[in-house]
Amino acid sequence: MSAPGQPAGPSRTPVYALVGNPNCGKSTLFNALTGLKQKVGNYPGVTVEKKIGTAYSQHGLPLTVIDLPGTYSLAARSPDEAVTRDVLLGRRADTPQPDRILCIVDATNLERNLYLVHQILDLGRPVILVLNMMDLAARSGMEVRVGRLEHALGIPVIACEAVNGKGLIELKLAMSRPDLPLSRHAWDIPAAIAPAVTELQASLAAGEGKSPLIARAEALLLLTDQDSVRVAGSTPLNARTTEILRSWQERWAGQEIDWAGILVGSRYDAIGVLAANAVQAGPPAGRTTSDKIDAVVTHPVWGWLILIAVMTLIFLSIFTLAEYPMDWIGAQIAALTRGVKDVMPAGDLRDLVTDGAIAGVGTIVTFLPQILILFFFIGLLENTGYMARAAFIMDRLMSRVGLNGKAFIPLLSSYACAIPGIMATRTIEDPKDRLTTILVAPLMSCSARLPVYLLMIAALVPGDRVPLPTKVGLMLLMYALGTFGAFGFAWLFKRTLLKGAPPLMIMELPPYRLPGLKDVVLHMIQRAGLFLKRAGTVILGISIILWFLTTYPKGPGGVVSIDHSFAGAAGHAIEPLIKPIGFDWRIGIGLISSFAAREVFVSSTAVVFSVQNFNADDAHADLTPLREALRNAHWPDGRALFTPLVCLSLMIYYVFAMQCMSTIAVVRRETNSWKWPIFQTLYMTGTAWVLSFIVYQAGRGLGF
């Protein structure tokens, strides 16, 4: 059967799907096959990364390769795995059903990896089996007999070392074959469930027009798939099939026999026979290098010390290394703005270009170095295998507040920026765990809050130079507030709103490897590209809207005056709301404008308090004139506006408040609803207000 709307002729580019367990070297193989000819996007409606590349056959003809998310089984447990299942079953209209399937397995771990292969063979598509990591298998003394496996399965089996590029030519030759054989795959479905399989198969074939083999494979899956994950964009089951499935499940529930377990067991039996025939195990393995490293890295004491050291290194790199490119980019943006101002005649259009578009793009691009460094390290940690260990160590701590160990990476990334953090929650299988992580991730102090903290600390402390201990102490306090806040809310949500059983975590710790620099860099570029696309468009849009709101309507005589603008009006409008926490309408304008990105607070404050010649894009911009302006700002009754107490209140407000449109937009995408981003904005900003209120009013009461 060809996918609907796709002519099955020699003229069409054949579509290969690349499937395999996590950590079997699938991405490396995909990169090796397609080089840089890759397109990274999203499956519409779900937040699963879609990677499609082009490889070339031996005759130079293009072959489309889809890199499907790694999975242990077609019985999906997470959105990623559901996409893999649905693409293979032809349930997604946005992706052609693959003509052929490349199954990649870790040769050192053949038996466990063959489980997925066994399910895939059921699909009745031509399959090529790629045995990756043959070098590691040989080193551990295992002998994998490729010929026997090929003979037993009746499909091409290619021995390969994707990291070293070995076996790629043989693989491409196999992929170029016009006539790939179908597998001789046959296994006995336990007799008791055969009638159920037949009935479901008939319903799927009749109702949804599936080919008999695909329908059979899907029927088998439906029976093992207890609470199957449904994802947006996939065709749901029809009512009749659902009804048949439900009635069989009810019947079995009455018999108290675990048919799903029996099905899995019978697959493993078949695999056991296959593996016994094809694999000659080596001498009993002693402690491998990985085991020796793990003895230290997962040690209760040393493990923590190493983790802390690694995290410190990453943080220092993000904040120190990124400074140089960020300054440079800031200078370029400033130069560009000056250039445009010189060339274009003064007027609204020029201001739109410089203060709206260029400022917006500048904000995004300035963040890029930090994001790139962050993604580089995350890629490096994933590539070497350390990331799984970090998640393992953190799991003990995270499970106390009901979070999954896998939430560690998203939360860590959120210190740089919540957007990549939220995008990284996709690996968390449990939807409630994932949602909790998304809800608390923006509480981690992101780097856009830094300029706000720095300005407030400068305004808070009298004297020209802020003593280092004060600066560091206050800064640490803000980071600690956000972090404990995040854990506190996670604990609260897991007990109330997203009540669920304690997290069930099962995670494979892959053997340590030397990192493949090409894979790490490619990963970094792709992720950064996604970030730019996701956050960039929003930030640019918001910057232009904010420019409009701060420019129009103009003041008397057609002069731009923020006081008279929509933003000024909005600032005045929210003043009653923010007065109890010590803010006036001018700070209100700063709050509103910083929805584009929190750091915009600094530049808009400079505008509001009419600081001349202040260039917020220049990282070495002297804060002194701005600080002086803030110090001279007063309430109408003559009281100073920025008292130390107000500065503290404002910092606390920024720790908790959801002051970021891009994050809201990303949460909306990742949760596929407006409900959660709205809830998140309310709870975060509500907490911010309440805490600032308590601090401000208590401070006032104590006479500060």
Partner: protein, 87 residues
């Protein structure tokens, strides 16, 4: 004849969480929530699979078929093992 010889050899059964660190057990059964058991089976925790417990209390680390696997104690409590050696 000592009575001990008359008793058939019965290996000790316990959940994986109770298996002492450093000991090796053979999976005897999976018990508890069906979908958790199905997932464990798919990952290779089948009856008769041999597991070595490496470390951990709340989050366990074990070795299965040459692979390191971390699992939370709630997951591990679904796995009933028979003590093979160690402990």
């Amino acid at each position: 004849m000592p009575t001990a010889h008359l008793e058939p050899f019965r290996p000790q059964r316990m959940t994986l969480t109770e298996l002492p660190i450093g000991a090796t057990g053979r999976v005897f059964a999976l018990a508890g929530e069906t979908n958790v058991c199905a997932r464990l089976r798919e990952l290779g925790f089948c009856e008769s699979a041999v597991i070595e417990k490496i470390s951990g209390q709340k989050t366990l680390l074990c070795q299965l078929c040459g692979t390191r696997i971390a699992l939370s104690d709630r997951t591990a409590s679904h796995i009933v093992v028979e003590l093979v050696r160690g402990g």
